[in-house]
């Protein structure tokens, strides 16, 4: 199981997930989709953590993953609440519609 290529595969997969997430953040205009893409990026990072943790034989990476999950859950809760508030305010979910902070 602990074949050297295992880590390579896992990291490759995490890179793909992270890249997909990044693309989603930048290309999608719907706020909810952007949020979901961020989750994808986080999970890509999680996968890399777990893979390296396994390869190094320590628990540090796995502990960190739990933290990331907890923070991600909190972030989703807060993020969705903000999305609802935004929707009530502007009646749209287009990211580019929220530009009042323009300098």
């Amino acid at each position: 199981m602990d074949h050297p290529t295992f880590v390579q595969h896992a990291v490759l997969l995490s890179l793909v997930l992270f890249g997909l997430g990044t693309l989603g953040v930048f290309l999608r205009r719907n706020v909810i989709t952007v949020l979901m893409s961020i989750e994808l990026m986080l999970n890509g990072a999680n996968l890399a953590f777990v893979a390296f943790s396994r390869a190094a034989g320590t628990l540090d990476g796995q502990v960190l993953v739990f933290f990331v999950m907890v923070v991600a859950a909190a972030e989703a809760a807060v993020g969705l609440a903000i999305v609802i508030a935004l929707h009530r305010h502007k009646d749209t979910l287009d990211v580019d519609a929220f530009g009042v902070m323009k300098g």
Partner: protein, 654 residues
């Protein structure tokens, strides 16, 4: 430690609490007391608390000596008075006020011969002056406020003399300063009165800074601020020779700055003559008999410390002697009856410091004690005169009052003879001791002797101008002249009796053990009492010739002496110098340098430049904020890529 009963532990606290309770009641219930315009009750309450405190003080003193005598009871004899060690009547497990590591300040009181003397003077003279105020302030509508301040003052003064450590003493010290301020400015609608109060307060602050620094220094040297600790351990310190600036000398001099401020010694004496703006009983109680002697008490209290520093002792003696002489010369040309007495007080306080500086701390306290009697008597007498003169204080408009106010005249005469040092009155005994203590220092002895002559002369001048000759005031006033009521005469008579007899109780021997110094009793010099008496008589005779017998001689004498008299009349220009310094140097410097240059240009300029910089920077950077969320995300990504690239690039290198 002595075996103390409950009474012993409670008594000092009861003495302290009584006037405070009087103050609180008067302060809170004042409006209720004068609800129908009748406020005499306030005076009776104030008198009652102080009189009771006096009774308790006598009791406490008797108990203190009772312990010395042993189980057979109280014995107040010469043998017990000479009894050596200090007996601190201190609460065994005192409540702590401050407890910070090694710094511990308990609520403790110290009852020893020295604080007993002070306590008796404060409550004894204080009660007489309270009673006197009943009559003197009878026509004042603000009597409740007056008596509440007077009670508060008594409390703080007792705290000052009973406090078992320097911080407690300092609370009392500041408290009496506050009451002094409040009472000088009692007639606050009079501008000169409130200005005088302010002056007293500000000048005293200068001294208090010295006292605080001195306390810090003492704590640094001893690790304790307890008065008994200091007295016990001072002897172990290395004595410091003349002009050797060791810690003891610095501590003593700093504390002495505080004493100078409170006891109105040169150069911080300027507030006391102005303090005469207050009601006369206040002048008698605070600015003659008790508060101004706090500096002498403080120096005597720290006598073991001062004894270790020759420099400090010399400074104390010289400041005392110079003050005595200068104030004496000023007193001789003043025309306001109370100002003569004020400068006389400054001068007598100088005598006390001279004695302390000569190592005769007991004698300083002895003079403090006798001075309290005759100076309170003189002030109250002058108050009676002012009362009779319908508020006139200028002696040039008085004269011939001898027949009209006989009680005031006779008691005033006794006071004058006492301060002039005519035997066997009180002033003779203590002044004789002071001269004796200064005998080994010819210059200071000469100054002291000459000042004694001046004292007799200016007091006799005051007496002759006021009570002898023809009446020089207006008809209206003359018609009004009347003897004061009984509540004012009775304290005068009692104080006169005290001025006659007080000198026979040798207070210097009573308090000597407190100082922990080797027995410094000098052998009496046979010729000295005669010289001292002769000086007093000559001073009185000079005044007699100049003011009663041959007034034309005075005019011919005044011409050649005019420059000197001008300097005396202008009080050595102290006020002018301070005024010039404060107004031109301090106010001018603040205005031109600190305000216009430093504050307006430098500080405001710096703040404005920073604001301008921020604003222009913001103008440049503002377009970055496009308002598009994805632009921000892109920047974040770019940043992340940059950081990761850097990390990857530098990974291989050490």
């Amino acid at each position: 430690m002595l075996d103390l009963t409950l009474i012993d532990r409670t008594l000092p606290f009861a003495i302290l609490i009584l006037p405070l309770a009087g103050f609180i009641v008067l302060a809170l219930l004042g409006d209720w007391i004068k609800r129908d315009g009748e406020s005499a009750g306030a005076g009776y309450l104030a008198c009652a608390t102080v009189l009771t405190a006096f009774g308790l003080a006598v009791w406490a003193t008797l108990r203190l000596y009772g312990y010395v005598a042993g189980p057979e009871g109280l014995r107040f004899t010469q043998a017990t008075l000479g009894w050596p060690p200090l007996a601190p009547l201190e609460l065994r497990d005192p409540l702590n006020w401050i407890d910070l590591g090694g710094f511990r300040v308990p609520w403790s009181v110290l009852v020893d011969p020295l604080s007993c003397v002070m306590m008796l003077v404060v409550t004894g003279i204080g009660s007489l002056i309270h009673v006197y105020s009943l009559g003197y302030m009878a026509h004042d509508e603000d009597r409740v406020r007056f008596f509440s301040y007077l009670n508060l003052f008594t409390f703080f003064m007792l705290l000052l003399v009973l406090g078992g450590n320097l911080p407690l003493l300092f609370i009392g010290w500041e408290g009496v300063g506050l009451c002094s301020y409040l009472l000088i400015g009692f007639w606050y609608k009079k501008e000169s009165a409130s200005a005088a109060g302010l002056k007293a307060f500000v000048v005293n602050r200068i001294g208090d800074v010295g006292l605080i620094l001195g306390m810090v220094y003492i704590f640094h040297a001893f690790g304790s601020l307890d008065l008994v600790d200091i007295a016990d351990n001072a002897g172990a310190l290395a004595p410091e020779a003349l002009w050797q600036w060791g810690p003891v000398t610095i501590a003593c001099l700093l504390v002495f700055v505080g004493a100078i401020g409170k006891s109105a010694q040169i150069p911080l004496h300027v507030w006391l003559p102005d303090a005469m703006e207050g009601p006369t009983p206040v002048s008698a109680l605070i600015h003659a008999a008790t508060m101004v002697t706090a500096g002498v008490y403080l120096v005597a209290r720290l006598a073991p410390l001062y004894h270790q520093s020759e420099t400090a002792m010399l400074v104390v003696a010289v400041v005392g002697a110079v003050t005595a002489l200068m104030a004496g010369t000023i007193a001789i040309v003043q025309t306001d009856i109370k100002r003569v007495l004020a400068y006389s007080t400054v001068s007598q306080l100088g005598f006390m410091f001279l004695a302390a500086g000569m190592g005769a701390f007991g004698v300083a306290i002895f003079h403090l004690y006798t001075h309290a009697f005759f100076k309170a008597l003189l002030f109250l007498g002058s108050g009676s005169v002012i009362h009779a003169m319908s508020g006139e204080q200028d002696m040039r408009k008085m004269g011939g009052l001898r027949k009209k106010v006989p009680w005031t005249f006779w008691t005033f005469l006794i006071g004058t003879l006492a301060i002039a040092g005519i035997p066997p009155l009180a002033g003779f005994h203590s002044k004789d001791e002071i001269l004796l203590s200064a005998l080994h220092h010819p210059l200071l002895f000469g100054i002291a002797l000459f000042t004694a002559l001046l004292t007799a002369a200016y007091m006799a001048r005051l007496l002759f101008l006021t009570f002898f000759g023809e009446f020089r005031g207006g008809h209206e006033t003359e018609h009004h002249v009347h003897e004061s009521p009984g509540s004012m005469i009775a304290p005068l008579v009692l104080l006169a009796l005290g001025s006659i007899g007080a000198g026979f109780l040798k207070i210097d021997l009573v308090v000597q053990p407190v100082f922990r110094l080797p027995e410094a009793h000098l052998p009496p010099v046979t010729w000295l009492p005669f010289v001292a008496t002769l000086t007093g008589v000559v001073g009185i005779l000079i005044a007699w010739y100049l003011y009663l017998s041959m007034p034309e001689l005075r005019a011919s004498l005044a011409r050649p002496l005019r420059p000197a008299l001008r300097v005396f009349g202008a009080k050595y220009f102290f006020d002018e110098v301070y005024d010039g310094f404060v107004r031109h140097a301090v106010v001018g410097g603040s205005d031109r340098l600190l305000w216009r240059s430093v504050d307006a240009r430098l500080i405001d300029g710096a703040v404005n430049r920073v604001a301008d910089l921020t604003r222009s920077l913001a103008r440049t950077l503002r377009p970055v904020q496009t308002g598009f969320v994805r632009h921000y995300a892109l920047l974040v990504l770019a940043g992340a890529v940059a950081v990761v690239s850097y990390l990857l690039a530098s990974a291989g290198r050490p």
